[in-house]
């Protein structure tokens, strides 16, 4: 209880952290209440598919029927960005949690036990880190077949090695601490020492990096969608909506900003989502920083 109050006070102290919290809170609300904010039209089976109003290419400006207008192919922008928040959270949380899990398990094994195991695991991460990540991710998505699931798998594959590395490094440092030796001296098993003594003191840098990286994951997923490797056409996904807009960035000569809504709105959603996580990551860093004057 007091921990929570402490966290809240720590957040409130820093206006930037607070901004991050507010932004992410708004996105969470949007994602949870998507069915209320942008109700799925009757008769549509998959809520994640954006309803379209016709088939002609040119985006249409905001109107009573489409409050944020329509993008290329007459997909409703408002519906797309609202339900896109759900896709963004799903990609971000699934990718980040699996990445962290792999990183923690492999990093702990390599760092705590060392020796041959460490050597093997770290050389494997070297191999993964040797590839340019976007090329590797694209190749994987192509092999697995385009789709949101493939994007998530590809991002996990390119992302875990840096976490395994980071966690291993922190564990190497913590395992030499006296209290770890003391725990072994009490008769604790390796598993208990890792879980109760080493990880709680070694994991915070990784958690902070994860919260900072969530934005990057969403950005990368958007990049893959933008390249046409992401969600199927019409799926509520911010990356894909920026892809729809790529032919409409510049309007006709007499009105170059004619299609601003098609470009700016999905772009702003991505921007704020990433910004929110980055600010929150900084806040986490302040909160998790060990031995803060917690009274």
């Amino acid at each position: 209880m007091s921990d929570w109050r402490f966290t809240a006070r720590q957040l409130a102290k820093n206006p930037l952290s607070l901004t991050g919290v507010v932004i992410i809170a708004i996105f969470i609300i949007i994602a949870i209440f998507a069915p209320l904010i942008a109700p799925t039209p009757a008769g549509q089976l998959n809520s994640y598919m954006i309803p379209r109003d016709g088939y002609w290419a040119e985006p249409q400006p905001p109107s009573a029927a489409h409050i944020l207008g329509t993008t290329q192919g007459q997909y409703d922008i408002f519906y797309g960005v609202v339900w896109g928040a759900r896709s963004a959270f799903r990609v971000a949380l699934v990718v980040m949690s699996i990445t962290l899990l792999i990183g923690i398990v492999l990093g702990s094994l390599a760092g705590y036990f060392g020796g041959v195991l460490d050597e093997i695991l770290m050389r494997i991460t070297d191999i993964f880190l040797a590839f340019p990540w976007l090329i590797l991710a694209m190749a994987l998505v192509v092999v697995l077949g385009p789709g949101l699931k493939s994007v998530m798998i590809a991002l996990i594959v390119v992302w875990w090695p840096s976490y395994a590395r980071l966690i291993r490094g922190d564990i190497l440092q913590v395992r030499e601490e006296d209290y770890v030796e003391a725990a072994r001296g009490l008769g604790a098993s390796s598993g208990r020492v890792i879980i109760r003594h080493v990880l709680p003191n070694a994991i915070y840098p990784a958690l902070i990096m994860a919260s900072l990286d969530i934005g990057a994951v969403v950005l990368s997923a958007a990049a893959l969608s933008f390249l046409g490797l992401g969600a199927p056409e019409g799926y509520a996904d911010w990356g894909q909506m920026t892809q729809f807009a790529q032919n409409w960035i510049v309007g006709p000569l007499d009105n170059p900003l004619k299609y601003w809504y098609a470009v700016i709105i999905p772009g702003l959603f991505i921007l704020f989502f990433v910004l929110g996580w980055n600010l929150l990551g900084d806040a986490f860093r302040d909160i998790f920083d060990p031995r803060l004057a917690r009274r």
Binding site: D178, A182, G187, P200, P290
Partner: protein, 348 residues
Amino acid sequence: MDTLVDIRRLKKHFPILGGVLRRPVGAVKAVDGVSLAIKRGQWLGLVGESGCGKTTLAKTLIRLWKPTSGHIYFDVPDVVKAEIEMLESQDKNGSKLNSLLKENDLGTFSSSRVRSFHRRAQLVHQDPFTSLNPRMKIKNIVAEPLKIHHVLSGHAVETAVEELLDKVGLSSGQLERYPHQFSGGQRQRIAIARALATKPEFIAFDEPTSALDVSVQAQILNLLKDLKREFGLTYLYITHELLIAESVCDYIAVMYVGKVVEMGKPEEIFHTPRHPYSQSLIAATPVPDPTRRVGRIVLPGEVPSPANPPPGCHFNPRCSRASDECREFEPELKLISNDHYVACFYPL
């Protein structure tokens, strides 16, 4: 008094890795053939200067580290030890010897047996600022050994923790606090409470007061005295503060470069040392008495590196009494008077 801990010819060498392939190219002989017996109920003081292998000896004895060679017997009957010695002297690597060693020699125990051994023997670290997990509450720190060894469960753990903290002089109102909220002396009390939790028979202290203020040192020493009496504990007490060793210990072992050079009762060690090294060590003790002028003995040269100790007696390059014999042969610990052992060919 029977012998609780018996160390025989214990060695702990740390390999020095070198070259591209990280092959061992040498070894730091931190503990190089130590034989030491601690009787039940004894408070044995292990003294020596920094780097002589005191801490390594304690950590190897408690099996945080695996010994390179030698035997560690914990509460093993003399008959069994004698049988092992006999079988070894016959130089037959028989299965009987192996099974006896496996059963009794702590140095050969599997990791799970070592873990259950830790219920009976504990180590208190030197620095209480690093030996407590900063992310655990005091109640969990002290309760951990109870949970590890399944001694108690549920509500009984909490009661036991309160009792333990009370024993070391901390109030139970501090259960929910974290280590950084305590002073050094309090932290060392917490570490002691943790060591006491499983009701061990033997506790090794690795300079438990060297990180503390002088006034707090006295409190901790008094606490250790009381606990020892109350629980019938046996202590191995490492220190480089000879005055402390003299005042609290009832047996003293002096170490020099990985070896015990002299053992005996404190009054003998401190007043009639028989080994030239002990003599100079004791002469170097600062005595808070300006009228007392002690003849200083300045040793020539420096402490040899444990990675490359001199042949023969390790003390020979600095010893005024050294002869060719000392440069060639290593002296063994020999009984020279009642309960007083010296490893020197020419004792004082």
